[in-house]
């Protein structure tokens, strides 16, 4: 079966609360995709401010604190890696051929303990609402 990647873009919000208010919807959606046997992987990313952009120019690795930010380059692919920390991720990012003529943005995926429980509580009907 062909694979498709869905890339989710959202306005950067200062208020993380807004983001979690929709948690029940996300869970429902993820669950239905999983049940249908379609889901390979998914996950929320840490804010773009925590991104590091890697470029290799003239054999030297250049790091930029922040997300990839030019309009002339387009998203061309992805790797999802298990790494001990950002150093390991950056090292592999610098190995991508794209790093030599484009950019590789490195973002951490939130782990389960970093995602608030608001959604789950809400779904169970115990919470006061996620407003």
């Amino acid at each position: 079966m062909p694979q498709y990647m869905l890339l989710l873009y959202a306005p950067e919000s200062e208020e993380q609360e807004d983001r979690w208010a929709e948690m029940p919807l996300w869970r429902e959606l993820t669950e239905s995709l999983r049940k249908a046997g379609l889901l390979v992987a998914n996950g929320p990313l840490h804010p773009a401010t925590s991104a590091t952009t890697v470029r290799v120019r003239g054999g030297e690795t250049e790091l930029t604190d922040g997300p990839f930010a030019t309009t002339k380059e387009v998203l061309a692919g992805y790797y999802l890696l298990n790494c001990a920390d950002v150093d390991e991720a950056l090292r592999h990012a610098a190995r991508m051929p794209t790093a030599r003529y484009g950019s590789v943005e490195v973002r951490a995926i939130m782990n389960a303990s970093e995602i608030p429980d608001v959604g789950r509580v809400h779904m169970n009907g115990q919470g006061a609402g996620g407003g």
């Binding site: 840490h46 790091l63 604190d65 920390d85 951490a108």
Partner: protein, 416 residues
């Protein structure tokens, strides 16, 4: 009485905060929680010490209190990853009456980890500088903001964002290994150098805060040398900072005018710093391949030796600038090289080195280039050319002290 206590607490914090914080971060795994716990301990110290007097070992008091506060915070804060394991480790540590003997070297390692984390290349340079001053130095957010001429909330946001990124991106808390190490050490030294430079040669701002930046950079430089005694560039940087800073007070006279090195009052030099600087230089010169900081320190040392009697060895200084230019090419170095060559081999030799710089449009507004050009033209006898170049330099100068000096030289030109 209360003031004496406050002063004692402030002093202990200035000296011990970084070490206490560094160890706590390792246990807690989160900058913010560790920092909040240390802040709690400071406030607890103020209250308890006013009541009971300053304890015999204030540093130990703060270490223990900060650790207990961190335990409280970890119990409350559910969002920290590996919370249970971290809490268990802290509780174990807290139960030990006497910390293990290996703790002293572990504390040194923690400080080194903290330095490398604050200067991690995934953080942008202003964030590295701010975070280093905040966590390793004794400066408050307000002081750092004033030193860098930004609003306090802006600086606060910068620091919070940096800490957030360390947590979110999982910037590791460790001393980099093997092949990574040289590059990362260079990054750390660069941050210390930037802090020093901001204090030493900034174009405006509060003089007192600037002096604090120099002191802070020197303190950090000493720590880096102590932690990495085998690194020649660390010693070179320390020597460079000490030899420059020793002459800071003599650079400006009572009227706020700039005083050139040759005319400085040597009794205003800080001879303890100069001695320490020369000692650091001794460490650094054992290295086979001199780096940029060692070369700059050597140049500074030659200037000091010259002003301390006898003529400057301009040929040697020119040689050092040339080596520096090969290592780190920059207009600053090229302009200084031309000055030294001008003194060593005559003004026209210096002017020849300036020619390619003067035709570079990027340097059209580079004030030191025009000031040096003016000086060399004057010495070559082209007074009209010199006057024009001085005027250009004056128009570009953002620093009042420096501008006054340039105006004095321009007037001396027409008077003579």
């Amino acid at each position: 009485m209360a003031d004496v206590t406050t002063a004692a607490a402030v002093r202990v914090f200035r000296d011990e905060r970084a070490a206490v914080l560094a160890t706590l971060i390792r246990y807690v795994g989160d900058f913010q929680v560790a920092e909040d716990a240390v802040q709690d301990a400071f406030e607890a110290a103020l209250a308890a010490w006013r009541r009971d007097g300053v304890p015999d070992n204030p540093a130990a008091w703060i270490t223990v209190t900060a650790r207990r506060r961190a335990i409280d915070r970890l119990r409350r804060d559910q969002s920290i990853s590996d919370r249970a394991e971290r809490l268990a480790a802290l509780l174990r540590l807290n139960q030990q009456e006497h910390p293990p003997a290996a703790e002293a070297s572990a504390i040194a390692d923690d400080r080194l980890r903290l330095i490398f984390t604050c200067c991690h290349p995934a953080l942008d340079t202003p964030a590295q500088v701010a975070l280093t001053l905040r966590t390793l130095g004794g400066l408050t957010t307000g002081e750092i903001a004033r030193a860098f001429l930004v609003a306090e909330p802006t600086m606060g946001k910068r620091i919070v964002r940096a800490k957030r990124k360390i947590a979110d991106a999982r910037i590791p808390y460790r001393v980099p290994s093997g092949e990574e190490l040289p590059e990362r050490v260079r990054g750390v030294l660069r941050v210390v150098y930037l802090i020093f430079n901001e204090g030493y040669s900034a174009s405006e701002g509060d003089l007192l805060v600037r002096a604090e930046l120099c002191d802070e950079a020197i303190r950090l430089g000493r720590v880096v040398c102590e932690l990495m005694p085998g690194d020649a560039e660390a010693w070179g940087l320390l020597a460079l900072m000490l030899l420059h800073d020793a002459r800071r007070a003599a650079r400006v006279d009572g009227n706020g005018s700039y005083v050139p090195l040759q005319e400085q009052d040597r009794s205003m030099w800080d001879w303890d710093r100069i001695r320490e600087g020369f000692q650091a230089l001794e460490h650094a010169v054992r290295s086979e391949r001199p780096g940029q900081y060692l070369l700059q320190a050597a140049i500074s040392a030659l200037h000091i030796r010259a002003a301390d009697g006898g003529a400057a060895d301009w040929a040697r200084i020119a040689e050092l600038y040339e080596a520096l230019g090969r290592l780190t090419p920059s207009p600053v170095v090229q302009v200084n090289h031309a000055t030294a060559v001008g003194f060593a081999y005559g003004a026209s030799a210096g002017l020849r080195l300036l020619d390619p710089l003067r035709s570079d449009p990027a340097l059209e507004r580079y004030q030191p280039l025009h000031a040096t050009h003016a000086e060399l033209l004057r010495r070559a006898g082209d007074l009209r050319g010199a006057a024009g170049a001085y005027e250009r330099a004056i128009a570009l100068s953002a620093n009042g002290v420096e501008r006054a000096e340039l105006e004095r030289r321009l007037q001396a030109l027409t008077a003579g």
